[in-house]
Amino acid sequence: MRFGIWKLTLVLLPFFAGCGREDGQLREAKKNVVMIEVTAQIWDYRLPWNPGTVSSSRGAGFVIEGNRILTNAHVISGARYITVQREADPRKYPGKVLHVAHDCDLALVEVQDPEFFKGTTALSLGGMPDLESVVSVYGFPIGGDRLSVTRGVVSRIDYNSYTHSGRESHLAIQIDAAINPGNSGGPVMQSDKVVGVAFQGFRGDVAQNVGYMIPTPVIRRFLKDVEDGHYDHYVDIAIRWMPLENPAMRKYLHRPNDGLGVVVTDIFSEGSSDGMLKKEDVLLSIDGHPIESDGSVRLDGQPVQLEEIVERKFAGDQVELEVWRKQALEKVALTLRPAEMFSMYENLYEEAPRYVLYGGLVFQPLTSNLMAGLLGAADLRLRQTYALFGQDQLYRETPEPVILSSVLPDRLNVYLGGMAGQIVREINGRRIRTLADVIPALESGGERTVIRFEGDQRPAVLKKSEVDRVMPRIMAQYGIKETSRTEVNGRRLAKGSFSEEKPK
């Protein structure tokens, strides 16, 4: 999922186009751009009980109003210790994450010591830069410790995937400034305003002179969202639609050939449109903006995808749609909410991995981190369940598929070694739909625990009394302190819309 794209920090080339002037912008940048050094701990999903690997990295950020430092989420992900340092001030100040939004790769960092902010002026946010206009990128890339700046032009304004979260796409601006591996989170400036935050690029062997920045509508949305002291997730209209370009299709839906409207092809249950929109609805306008047949709307004179209207809203906001349904016009107001059913595809950073250990068998919920950790151990059935989980709305039945992620070898489970990677269907006759089902199911049943898997795999059978007896041995052997970690904390999960069946 992260095909050649990688997180990067942008750098200013040590080269100024001829003039060598120290203009207002550079002066402002020197005052407000900061270097952020982070010691992070990354959970290991193959050993979910371990505290994880410690690593250090460096990124950029900049001071905005309210003595806050804006940077990328991926700069501070999993941070255990943060220091912030200003250009031309050797002191390193301890910092703390105030808010993090992994879905749009932004974060706010605070520094307690007021001394740090002496001489800073706070950069202010501008608007959307024009295509081909020149922007400057500030940061601290590898190759030196001083502030660096590069200059480029705005090459493209479009939706792009935000690789940090693994599943999100938002508005992004492509620039042609030279970009080197180093520090993300630096400001991209035009005159004395920030027009974006540098955040990702391509590897040199894929494309050259392609860098991406997060534009100000996304930044403003983030800053507004955290005003209540809490970051909510992006909301999603949670439908699929198809451009309505084919004349026969238009005729079938009784639409004139006027180049307007897209057709709804799927509605995700549990999403904002669940029960509100229907397949074959033709969407004609969104919040009063007419929808072209390719799905674009005009926003500030620029064509953008219709989702951009939704992108700028918050959980609980409404969006008004004009819908052509059964040959009649209807108005539909959707109350927007995050698409929690797809949260499985998000890369997780802060949340400690959840698991249940039973006789050396490790059960974990299916997450993108686990899939990455399983690598070759994921068989075709598991890979397909993962790939089709959203598309087939498998979350309705199993909001969180539970995987036998590994078998820690012990005398007890010598015959179960090859079974890792299987999807658990039921334990002791109880259907397993989320990790929370596992412990009660293991405690139920008779003297033998019977674990059944999807497909034509044999069941795993363990004697309860033996498991109880050897658990201390296994935990000592493998250095595991807790038999399980199941708290969901703040994590958003699909609810599942299956009808609850009575246990037999």
Binding site: M242, N246, P247, Y252, K279, G455, V461
Partner: protein
């Protein structure tokens, strides 16, 4: 899936050799096979790919027929025989072919071409440790004899088979020579096997053993080739004492059936998922699924049920069901392999397709999926991979073929549909579609009105106007130089 095997064979490299003197007894038993191969292009089903040649060393059997591997002659346009030591040639016909067992029987079109060839007799089965020779032909027709040793005998993978057959592991150092796509394994001047794969690095190869060859020849003898039987089950070893207790297995032996195809030999004999299979035709199975073979010792059950019996012969099973032992009887067949919605093997069979106003529909086969390359299960459209891989669950009814939209040829009426591909067709105008033939007929019958195609996946529905389809069909054929707008 398994084309790797060919590559081993094509990549001969000289790493030492053990040549023996030419032997008069070899004359009259080997013939060069020159095959011209041209597979169909599954992505452009109206055409074939570029042709290429394969050369092997065939075994002349007493009676004048020639034994070859199926991989050497599958998807052929032409097969020729050439005498060693002269360039005299003759075309050959394929009389019987078994793609799973990788064996083919060729017959020269000129009945006198192999006159004077005594042929090579079929020898006895070998065991591991036995010595043999792999024979190659020099350019001048002289024989090159390479000392070989049988390393292993057991059930293993064949190039085009999922379940496995008996195979010899052979250690031999083979020099690079022409006509080495297949080579005879010989012992005492009698055929002991056919080398079908070789890895030049480890100097190990695999050979089709005599019991397989005998089974094939016996089956082919009556002119009606039936193939090797299958059981139609998935099974799991039953060593785990906890599992044995859970399924109430007897004290020892037997394997657990985890899936039983109701159409297969076992399913029709009454075996069920969850049964413990204790013995087959009187051969006891151990907990790992091995029986004790008189010749090879402990051998996987696959050999017992595939190589030994023939299609139509009686099958006897002894099972334990929920702790109760019983005998079940049936007849060996291949229905679990042949009566399927999505066939695996489609060599020498042109892919079916229908073009409807620029929408190209095809019927799903394993061969189509393999066209996506070695990593087909990751690269091909996931819905197609799912239906194929889990067809026991997803498409158990063999009559319900999988028709899918493979691509869209831009035409005046496919505007807005161009990027679509890999979509499984469920319905046309509200009624299910179960084969490409049916789709074609129903499109033909629709003179006017909408053609509403419904698919499993997004975008779910596409609409064409039947009259417009009719009007553009000829133009599409012309614009894209299609030899035909359908093949059914």
């Amino acid at each position: 899936m398994n084309r790797v095997w060919m590559i081993f064979l094509l990549g001969w490299v000289t790493i030492g050799m053990a040549a023996g003197p030419a032997d008069e007894s070899s004359r009259g038993s080997l013939v060069r096979i020159r095959a011209s191969i041209q597979p169909y292009d599954q992505f452009r089903p109206w055409q074939k790919k570029a042709p290429f040649g394969l050369n092997g060393t065939g075994v002349v059997l007493p009676g004048g027929k020639v034994l070859a591997t199926a991989a050497l002659v599958e998807n052929r346009t032409e097969v020729g025989l050439e005498k060693p030591g002269s360039a005299e040639k003759c075309a050959a016909e394929v009389e019987a072919i078994d793609y799973e067992a990788n064996l083919a029987l060729l017959k020269p079109t000129d009945p006198d071409f192999l006159k004077g060839f005594a042929g090579m007799g079929i020898g006895t089965a070998l065991r591991s440790g036995d010595k043999a020779e792999v024979w190659q032909l020099e350019r001048n027709g002289e024989l090159l004899r390479n000392q070989a040793e049988i390393l292993s005998t057991g059930v293993g993978r064949y190039p085009s088979d999922e379940a496995g057959f008996l195979v010899y592991g052979v250690r031999v150092s083979l020099p690079k020579r022409d006509d080495s796509y297949m080579l005879p394994l010989v012992r005492n001047s009698q055929l002991a096997g056919i080398m079908m794969g070789y890895d030049r690095d480890s100097q190990e190869g695999s050979a089709i053993p005599v019991p397989m060859i005998e089974h094939f020849l016996k089956d082919a003898a009556d002119g009606k080739y039936e193939g090797f039987p299958t059981l139609g089950v998935s099974w799991s070893p039953l060593r785990d004492p906890n599992l044995r207790e859970e399924v109430l297995a007897p004290k020892s032996g037997g394997v657990l059936l985890t899936r039983v195809n109701p159409r297969g030999t076992a399913g029709r004999a009454g075996l069920m998922e969850g049964d413990v299979l204790l013995s087959v035709d009187g051969f006891k199975l151990d907990e790992d699924g091995n029986y004790r073979d008189a010749l090879y010792g402990p051998t996987a059950v696959g050999n017992l049920i595939r190589t030994r019996p023939t299609v139509g012969s009686p099958a006897k099973f002894h099972i334990s069901r929920q702790g109760r032992e019983m005998d079940l009887a049936g007849v060996y067949d291949r229905k679990a392999r042949e009566e399927v919605a999505i066939p695996t093997l489609q060599y020498d069979v042109p892919p079916k397709y229908v073009v409807v106003g620029g929408l190209v529909f095809q019927e799903l086969t394993g061969t189509y999926l393999q066209e996506w390359g070695e990593k087909w299960s990751e690269r091909a459209p996931q819905r197609l991979v799912q239906l194929f891989t889990f067809q026991n669950e997803k498409r158990p009814d063999p009559e319900k073929k999988v028709v899918f939209l493979s691509q869209v040829l831009p035409s005046p009426i496919t505007l807005g549909y161009l990027q679509l591909s890999g979509l499984v067709l469920e319905k046309l105008n509200g009624r299910e579609v179960h084969s490409l033939q049916e789709l074609a007929e129903r499109v033909d019958r629709a003179d006017s009105g909408d053609l509403v195609f419904e698919f499993t996946d997004d975008p779910g529905k596409l609409v064409l106007d039947a009259a417009e389809v009719r009007a553009v069909q000829e133009k599409i054929g012309k614009d894209y130089n299609l030899p035909a707008l359908r093949r059914l």
